[in-house]
C-alpha cells in the first residue's frame, strides 16, 4: 500500500513543506525560531510566578511547549488536510488519507528539529543525560499516533462542519491551560491531580518531564493509560473517517 503511493507521498511532503514557508524571509528556520520564541515569552511571563518553585524551570517549560506545539500543530494542520486538497481529490483518484499523512510527516520533521534544540537547552540547563532518555521514544511514538487519530477525526468532521475550525482553536487554547504547560500541579489536592490524568496531552508532557528532569521512568500503569488513550483516539478517528470516506465528495 505504502510502496505503491510512496512517490506521491514524498512529493506531497515536499510540497507541504515548501508551502508552509513560502515567501517568508527566515523560511524553514522558523521551525527553530517559533518554539524558541514561545519558550522565551513563557519563561519571561511565568518565570516570575513559578520559576523559583519549580527546579529546572526552563527545561520544565520546554518539555511542555515542545509536546504541546507538536500536538497543536499536527491537529490544526490535520484539520485542513482534506479541505485544502479538495481540488485534487475531486478530480483525480488518489487515496485521500495521504494528504493527512503528509501533513503529519511535515509536523513530525518540525518536531524533530525542535527536539534537537530541546536537548541542547537541556545540556545548558545542567540536565544529566542517562540511558533513560531512550524511554522517550515511547511517548513520542504514542503522540505521533495520537495526532494521526485526531487528524483523521478532525479532517473528516471539518468537511461537514466548517465551524470546526473555530471550535478547535478554542479547544486548543483550553487544552493549553489544562495541560500544566507552565505551572506545576504539585500543590493541588489529590482529586484535582488525578483529574489531570484524564487529559492525554498532560500524560505526554508528564512522561517527558519524568524522564528528563527526574531521571525516572513512569510506572507500567502510566504506559498502559497512555496507550489506551492513544488507541481509543486512533480507532475513533479512523472509524469516523471511514464512515464518511465515500461521502466527502458530495459536500465539497
Amino acid at each position: 500500500m505504502l510502496s505503491k503511493h510512496r512517490f506521491l507521498f514524498e512529493e506531497l511532503v515536499k510540497r507541504d513543506f515548501d508551502r508552509k514557508y513560502k515567501g517568508s524571509f527566515f523560511g524553514a528556520a522558523w521551525s527553530v525560531l517559533n518554539p524558541l520564541l514561545t519558550l522565551l515569552i513563557m519563561r519571561v511571563v511565568f518565570g516570575h510566578f513559578f520559576g523559583s518553585a519549580i527546579p529546572h524551570f526552563t527545561t520544565y517549560l520546554f518539555c511542555g511547549t515542545v509536546v504541546f506545539n507538536f500536538f497543536a500543530e499536527s491537529s490544526s494542520e490535520g484539520l485542513m488536510a482534506l479541505i485544502s486538497n479538495a481540488p485534487i481529490f475531486t478530480k483525480v483518484n488518489v487515496p485521500k488519507y495521504l494528504f493527512l499523512l503528509s501533513k503529519n510527516m511535515q509536523t513530525l520533521i518540525n518536531f524533530a528539529i525542535t527536539l534537537s534544540v530541546f536537548f541542547l537547552f537541556c545540556a545548558i540547563d545542567g540536565i544529566v543525560f542517562t540511558w533513560k532518555f531512550l524511554a522517550l521514544i515511547y511517548p513520542i511514538i504514542m503522540l505521533l499516533v495520537f495526532n494521526l487519530g485526531v487528524g483523521f477525526l478532525l479532517s473528516a468532521l471539518y468537511v461537514f462542519f466548517r465551524d470546526m475550525q473555530y471550535l478547535w482553536a478554542v479547544m486548543t487554547q483550553f487544552l493549553l491551560y489544562v495541560s500544566a504547560v507552565f505551572y506545576s500541579i504539585d500543590t493541588f489536592s489529590d482529586r484535582v491531580r488525578n483529574a489531570f490524568l484524564l487529559n492525554p496531552i498532560y500524560l505526554f508532557i508528564r512522561y517527558s518531564r519524568k524522564v528528563v528532569i527526574d531521571s525516572a521512568i513512569p510506572s507500567p500503569g502510566f504506559h498502559v493509560l497512555m496507550a489506551a488513550d492513544t488507541l481509543a483516539v486512533l480507532l475513533l478517528g479512523i472509524w469516523v473517517y471511514r464512515k464518511y470516506d465515500t461521502e466527502f465528495l458530495y459536500y465539497i
Partner: protein
C-alpha cells in the same frame, strides 16, 4: 467479455441537510419549521457495458449527469447505488489543470502531477525531458507554475497526462488543448493513444466528434439514461431533440 460494466449506477446528492447548510441554519430552519432535506439524483440507474477497444461517447445537455458519471466510473466517487466493474488500469483526464501548485517550479509540478496519476519516480525521471519538449516549455523551465500562461499550463498538463497507454481512458472534453499548432499536435497524440486500443469514454458537446470517433453512444438527460447503443441512430435522435422536435 466486457472490460467495463456499469450496473444500475446511481449517484445521489443531498441538498439542504445539516452537513450541507451548517449548524446555525439547521437550527433556524427547524425552528421555522421549514427544514427539509432534498435528494438530488445526478445519475439514476445507468447501465451499460463496453468491450475491449470500444469508444463510448456520452452526450446530453448541461446537468445531464455526464461528469458525475465519469467520476463514478473512474473511482473518484463511489456510487450511492449500483456497481462499476472494470478490468485493467483506468486513466481519467477530467480537469487537466487540477493538482498543480502555483508556487512550485515546473519540474516539481510535473513530478507532483505524475505522482497523482500513479506514475513512478523512475518513470518521471525517464520521461521528464520528453514532457518538457512536447509541451514546448524548454525556455520556461525555471519559472514557477503561476508564471505560465493558461495555455502553457494546459500544455504541460496534457503532456504529462498523455504519457500513458491505459486500458481504459476517460476524457472530459480534453481531446486537444492550447493554440492552433499545439491543438493539432495534441489531438494527433490523443488519436495515437486511441489507436493503441484503449477502451475510451469521451464526454463531448461536439456531435460531429462523437459521430467520427465513437462506435457507441450513451445519451443522458437529467440523470436518466435515455438510450445506449449504436452511434448513428442515437445521434440522429439527439439532434432532433436538440432542435426541439421531440420532447422527453
Amino acid at each position: 467479455m466486457p472490460v467495463l460494466t456499469c450496473d444500475h449506477v446511481s449517484v445521489r446528492y443531498k441538498v439542504g441537510d445539516f452537513r450541507n447548510i451548517g449548524l446555525k441554519e439547521t437550527v433556524m430552519r427547524k425552528l421555522k419549521g421549514c427544514y427539509r432535506v432534498e435528494e438530488f439524483w445526478a445519475d439514476r440507474d445507468i447501465t451499460f457495458s463496453l468491450e475491449r477497444g470500444d469508444m463510448l461517447g456520452i452526450i446530453g445537455t448541461n446537468g445531464a449527469g455526464k461528469s458525475t458519471l465519469l467520476k463514478a466510473v473512474s473511482g473518484i466517487m463511489s456510487p450511492s447505488g449500483g456497481r462499476v466493474e472494470h478490468e485493467g488500469n483506468i486513466s481519467a483526464l477530467l480537469e487537466l489543470a487540477s493538482g498543480f501548485d502555483p508556487d512550485l517550479s515546473i519540474r516539481r509540478n510535473a513530478y507532483l502531477r505524475g505522482a497523482m496519476l500513479g506514475y513512478t519516480r523512475e518513470f518521471m525521471d525517464e520521461k521528464y525531458e520528453e514532457i518538457i519538449d512536447f509541451a514546448e516549455l524548454r525556455s520556461f523551465e525555471d519559472r514557477s507554475f503561476k508564471q505560465l500562461s493558461t495555455g502553457m499550463q494546459s500544455r504541460l498538463a496534457f503532456s504529462i497526462a498523455s504519457l500513458v497507454q491505459p486500458d481504459i481512458l476517460i476524457l472530459d472534453e480534453v481531446l486537444s488543448v492550447g493554440d492552433g499548432a499545439f491543438a493539432k499536435k495534441s489531438e494527433e497524440k490523443m488519436r495515437e493513444i486511441l489507436r493503441g486500443g484503449a477502451t475510451t469514454i469521451l464526454v463531448s458537446h461536439s456531435l460531429d466528434q462523437v459521430r467520427e470517433l465513437c462506435n457507441k453512444v450513451l445519451w443522458l438527460h437529467q440523470g436518466r439514461q435515455i438510450d445506449f447503443g449504436e452511434t448513428g441512430a442515437i445521434c440522429d435522435r439527439y439532434q432532433t431533440f436538440l432542435h426541439g422536435e421531440i420532447v422527453l
